[in-house]
Symmetry: C2
Subunit: 570 residues, 2 copies
């Protein structure tokens, strides 16, 4: 393809709202163009890379006997009523001309379960895995980072249907294997991490995280064993001191006027935050509860949610509610005398002589002790795991914190949707049984951008070979130089014959501009064809990734390119 | 692919709302499944055929240096305000969570013109043709016929951008050529017909109509020359009598109590409808107008619209308005004494001694003559063309009326959108000039169904080879017969090696059911592998289209299939 014959406009300035490099680069290189917040056109180069990811996904899923189909974007609201999900906040709802209620699909559990309940009759019809690659819409309140958190985006969603839990786990494992193959073949550096199932149902779930500093997710992994988890669910250890605990000292009240935060208190008393204890109040299932953590630890809302058995992320009590429950303002509260369940983070097991609020404004207590001064409802893991902590899984390695971009997420769903929607099959005994389900997503447009976030330098994108829009970028410098034109033509046709995709910059521009654009576009190999070089009998070839330059005789160029690209596709 | 390993469920009964065969067959064969009126899931076999059409489209458009991209489905309403199209009735509009106004794209002139005005700077950046294959939504009030007139559907839309009208016409011709190649390669029997441009702008437009009796469009074509047009715009001739016109007789009024329609009048007076004249009242641009046609002729609203210069299809006057303008009820009106412009269908040129309403309830006039009794504002072509009429274009052949399904429509748009949205380029003199545009659509899902409407028999679908979901359907009859299993395996791998796509019915079903399903699914070749045949040293092969049966030695099967399929792809 020649630049003059396609539609490609690079842009000098990154848009003001592009906060991260991958967003800036995709816009500047003309891969994507914003239409509205979170809504982008994929221009030709962007689409070419996207299709390569899509085709890798298709190939790997087809290997696992998954069947592709294409479900509608516009869905009747009644299906979402059946599963009780009609009010999820990203669901965009509307009426059509005839007043019928529809929504734009952010996901397709409802539609696919409707298909299954119409088609599947018997255990002989199972197992099945269906998938589609399709445009989704999530009505995000604050879309950002380009394709990373968009409103309209392309997703691969798959759904498995099995006769029982053990078969469903096999399907889950099959999809996990397929995902590993997909992300590896796409040239991404990723980690599989344990994750939170949220409200989707089921109890087994993994995320596929592309490692990148700009990622929205924090990942905890062990430097010794294979353990890795999203920080939302990564267990945090006990960190118990092995020293003999000191004697219980006498409970004392002391004045702390104007000291509201753990930081204030720590400074004023000259005690490290870690030795102070803070008291948080949440609304539990049956009313308010208190949770105590060490002063420097942060409560992890996902852990609070799961220990309290909530269906949504936990809500703090308001100041008035805290006053009602404790008799004091939030800065002066503590466990002593509370009439509500008191949970303690497990790092407080064995803690003695704690400093806590006195439930009296402007006062604290010291030498507070468990059992003597208050009763513990439950010890549990409430805090975020932290860097350097001993790995809870292997008890040997240390935790490392990195950031990632979630590009895939797989869930074992159980029968949440099949029960709600009556998707049953008849078992061998002829009895109706709800189908066991799993669901499996890949953010295809997000994976595209994640690849750029992971693979770029200050000059532009560095495409992994398997998803580069073209393989070879030829800069034709002298548009009127007969030998140059002829060389480019021969080169193009020989490279294409070898299965390589060639892009030729035939614009009337200065070499400097052509090189800058080549770096920006980021195709794996750049070949420069100019009068001077050719007359000296050599062609300049640069690897985009390493910027390593090679001077080759023209007849060696094709072999070099073919072996470089084949190596990259392996 | 084996039936047991994919997702395919055929259905015995056609759905009650499927009025035409193609809709019934696509549902029964498990190609599509209804989610809501006008909204369908494409199941695997449907998607496979669709992708083949898409790939033919891509290949032919890429040959013409068209560039593919992918624009969003969700579009800001403000773009549609710019072009004054915000109120077109099929545009589904909604607010997002933040209260911003969006709509679902039924077409993309606005979005693509927005892209162009941002990217294109100079005449050197043109010409360009952009296209996408994408899901569209039209908020049809009465969706029907399956994929034929759906709400959510897949369309290929392309847009050309040129420096002037002559260059735009070249792009138009290029796309017309590409469309011919696309529909020919897809194995469709179609006609290119002249058409109405509607409100899209521009003055040159052609439709690509797949010929089929169930088509919604009526096509007029000449049995002698190449002329063909949608009945909406097909010119209808003068049909003037060559006989010397009779003398003007004396104008007379006569009572016609209770005779309201041309039919009543014709019966009561015993005069053929064709010799009576009817008067219709429409709202013109500057107020009411009357249009006279021969009694048996039907007014063609598109022709009325274009002669009157209206922007929408014409509205009849209400009974009250007719009374106000003529002094009588609609059944008793005529031209004599009217104070509004009177248009005559050109078939009335030279008509004499006409019978018309008297503008007095219950009375008519006879011997009414042009010029003597009323003045003609304009003669024009107002009526539908009819079967057997002399071709207006060649003046030799006769019109034939057939029905078609519109699968493609191309338009020269001029500068309607570029002017409204300020999409200018700088010409050689550095002056801004609005870009000349064209737009080009293919209903991809509609083309899929049109192919079935054109190619089926009572037993099922007959896929044209180029868009069949698979090429060869193997019915494996004896699942436990060693030689059968082995033969199928060898056959599958040899056929695949030769580039053919093989589908194997390995279900535990009776042969009768397998053959019925094979006919229903409609793959081009069916091979039956059974113990009895194999032991007699022969394999049964049936051509789906002709039902011609061949008994072949197993080693001849592959060659036969390959040459049959290659012939079909040519």
């Amino acid at each position: 393809m020649r630049w003059s014959q396609t539609y490609l406009f690079t842009v000098r300035e990154a848009p003001a709202d592009a906060e991260i490099m991958s967003h800036q680069l995709l816009v500047r290189a003309g891969f994507i163009k914003k239409l509205a917040p979170g809504i982008f056109t994929l221009q030709n180069f962007g689409l070419r890379s996207l299709r390569k990811i899509e085709n890798i996904i298709r190939a790997e899923l087809d290997k696992k006997n998954c069947t592709e189909l294409l479900m509608p974007m516009v869905q009747p609201q009644e299906l979402w009523e059946e599963t009780g999900r009609l009010n999820i906040d990203v669901l965009l709802k509307f009426k059509n001309r005839n007043g019928q209620l529809f929504c734009l699909g952010p996901t397709h559990e409802e539609v696919v379960t409707d298909i299954i309940r119409k088609d599947v009759k018997s255990y002989r019809d199972l197992p099945k895995i269906l998938y589609q690659i399709q445009t989704k819409y999530r009505d995000e309140i604050r879309p950002r980072f380009g394709l990373m958190r968009g409103r309209e985006f392309i997703m691969k969603d798959a759904y498995s249907f099995d006769i029982d839990e053990s078969a469903a786990h096999q399907s889950y494992q099959k999809m996990k294997d397929a995902y590993e193959a997909i992300f590896t073949r796409s040239g991404l550096n990723y980690r599989i991490v344990e994750a939170d199932a949220g409200n989707i149902g089921g109890n087994m779930t993994h995320e596929f995280q592309v490692l990148a500093e700009a990622g929205e997710d924090q990942i905890v992994s062990c430097d010794s064993c294979q353990f890795a988890a999203n920080i939302e669910v990564a267990p945090s250890g006990l960190n118990q001191s092995k020293a003999k605990p000191p004697e219980f000292l006498k409970l004392e009240e002391f004045a702390t006027p104007n000291l509201k935060t753990i930081g204030d208190l720590s400074k004023s008393l000259d005690i490290p935050e870690q030795q102070l204890v803070k008291t948080l109040f949440y609304m539990g299932v049956d009313g308010p509860v208190a949770i105590l953590l060490r002063g420097a630890d942060e409560a992890n809302p996902v852990k609070v949610k799961s220990t309290l058995g909530l269906s949504e992320l936990p809500m703090f009590l308001t100041e008035e509610e805290v006053l009602k429950v404790s008799g004091a303002s939030p800065g002066s509260c503590g466990p002593v005398g509370l009439k509500i369940p008191i949970y303690l983070d497990q790092a407080l097991q064995g803690a003695t002589n704690m400093i806590v609020g006195a439930n009296k404004d402007g006062w604290h207590l010291k030498n507070v002790n468990i059992d003597r001064d208050f009763q513990v409802h439950q010890f549990a893991d409430f805090k975020f795991a932290s860097e350097g902590e001993t790995c809870v899984r292997c008890q040997k390695g240390k935790y490392i914190l990195t950031r990632g971009i979630e590009v895939g997420h797989i869930f074992y769903l159980g029968t949440k949707y099949s029960k709600a929607m009556g998707a049953n099959y008849l078992n061998k005994e002829g009895r109706p049984v709800p189908v066991e389900m799993g669901c499996y997503g890949i953010g295809v447009t997000r994976a595209l951008q994640a690849s750029v976030e992971q693979n770029h330098d200050k000059d532009g994108i560095i495409w992994p070979v398997p998803i580069a829009p073209y393989h070879v970028h030829i800069c034709l410098l002298d548009l009127k130089h007969e030998l140059s034109l002829k060389t480019v033509e021969t080169l193009e046709s020989s490279l294409q014959k070898a299965g390589l995709e060639v892009f030729i910059d035939d614009r009337e521009e200065r070499p400097g501009i052509k090189f800058k654009d080549a770096d920006l576009l980021g195709l794996p190999l750049r070949i420069t064809i100019g009068a001077r070089g050719l007359e000296a009998g050599e062609v300049e070839l640069v690897e985009r990734k390493t910027k390593k330059m090679h001077k080759l005789a023209p007849e060696k160029v094709v072999d070099f390119c073919v072996s470089y690209i084949q190596e990259g596709l392996r």
